[in-house]
Amino acid sequence: MNIQDYILSGIIESYVLGIASPEDRAEFESVCASHPEVRKARDEFEATLEAYFMNHPGTIKPASELRDKIFAEINRTADDSPKRETIIAPIYPLQPVKRGWWRFVAAAAIILLLGSTVLNYYFFTQYKEYSIKYQELSSSQIQMASANQALQTKLQDYESAMNLMKNPAMAIIKMNSVPSSPSPNSLATVYWDTRNKDVYLLANNLPATVTDKQYQLWAIVDGKPVDAGLVEIKEGLSFIKMKNIQRAQAFAITLEKKGGSDAPTPAAMYVLGKVTG
């Protein structure tokens, strides 16, 4: 190829003005790279063209606000583009953080639920335990209360018994076992208030009765037995209030049918005691 002919072929102008075909452009670029004189000719035409355009910009000028508009745009994109790398980095962590936020809430909810379940179970077990303990305490308290009441009753019994024994007007008639007694070691005591004639019985030692039998106290008045009441034997040391007896020379206890008899059964006499003085 004759380089001078090539330079004058119009390719330089075609290339610079952008109207050369892609094949011509490629060829021109490779020729430029290997032939400095072609490149020099190109440079010269470019300079000429630039100078011409710079000196003949035309009568219509771009609006002055266009400069600001372009600057605003490039600064917006300049803000974007460097940040596109830096933003993408923060945005990526931001995405997981966003997702992570929900994850965190979900995780927190699950943890709370699990925690709540565990606590519920714990408190329920505690509650059951305390409920049982409360019932135990409550029943033992009831037991204690009833025991206390029993003690109170007993104490009252003892107090009243003590009062009876302390009473200076009280006549004490000891009733020993009679020879014919079914239980030879039987013993009972009558406390007889000489002022108001009230009779109290203390069963010191009387055998336990069968269900359809009952002890009965008799006052012997002028040789005749007078019913002085049925003996309701209670546990412990207790004075049993009997019927009021105005006069009597002796007292005796027989075992009678339940509800008592009108007249004593002589064979069933356990104890007998004479009123002294």
Binding site: L8, S9, G10, E13, S14, V16, L17, G18, I19, S21, E29, C32, A33, R42, D43, E44, F45, E46, A47, T48, L49, E50, Y52, F53, M54, H56, P57, G58, T59, I60, K61, P62, A63, L66, R67, K69, I70, F71, E73, I74, N75, T77, A78, S81, P82
Partner: protein, 182 residues
């Protein structure tokens, strides 16, 4: 071309590649009028040409990394960005429709007839002024190739002249143009 010029252009390009706002401001102040003229020669609409100029400068800003000084001057690179953007707009459907609505009959007739399609208000801008001095058969080819962006093959069809003739005429037109430029 002065050494000083080359030196400053190299520096300018370097600063632009570093996204230096001041350098870009200098670039705009220095070249916007010339580039606007280049656009306006192709797009005879002030508003549209302004939009294109904006697009061109944004593209320069964004694509400065792709500029290769071994393939030509910065101005040539920018000229081609401006010309290509203008021709893209020229060929866009919106533009075609708006033009058809405005001046359908004349435009259609003018393309084939060899009569200048040059509007009065852009007559005296940049290359247009030189174009007037070319022979009509040369002028129309430059018009179609440079201002309308047609390939040689397309021009051959439009003008119904052989491809070889198109090439020869364009070559002669360009050499003529070069002389007038100096």
């Amino acid at each position: 071309m002065a050494v000083q010029d080359l030196h400053s252009e190299r520096e300018l390009v370097l600063l632009l590649k570093e996204k230096n706002n001041k350098a870009f401001g200098y670039l705009y102040d220095n070249y916007s009028a010339a580039l606007f003229g280049i656009i306006h020669q192709i797009i005879d609409d002030n508003e549209l040409a302004s939009d294109i100029l904006q697009e061109v400068f944004i593209n320069i800003w964004r694509r400065i990394e792709t500029y290769d000084p071994s393939k030509g001057r910065l101005f040539t690179w920018m000229l081609n960005i401006a010309r290509n953007a203008s021709i893209d707009t020229l060929r866009s459907k919106n533009y075609q429709n708006s033009k058809k609505n405005q001046e359908l009959p004349d435009d259609v007739n003018n393309i084939g007839s060899g009569t200048p399609i040059i509007q009065a208000n852009i007559d005296n801008i940049g290359l247009r002024k030189i174009l007037e001095r070319l022979k009509p058969e040369h002028r129309i080819l430059i018009e179609l190739a440079y201002f309308k962006g047609y390939t040689h093959e397309e021009i051959s069809k439009i003008e119904s002249i052989p491809l070889g003739t198109v090439k020869t005429r364009i070559r002669n037109a360009l050499l003529q143009l070069k002389e007038y430029l100096q």
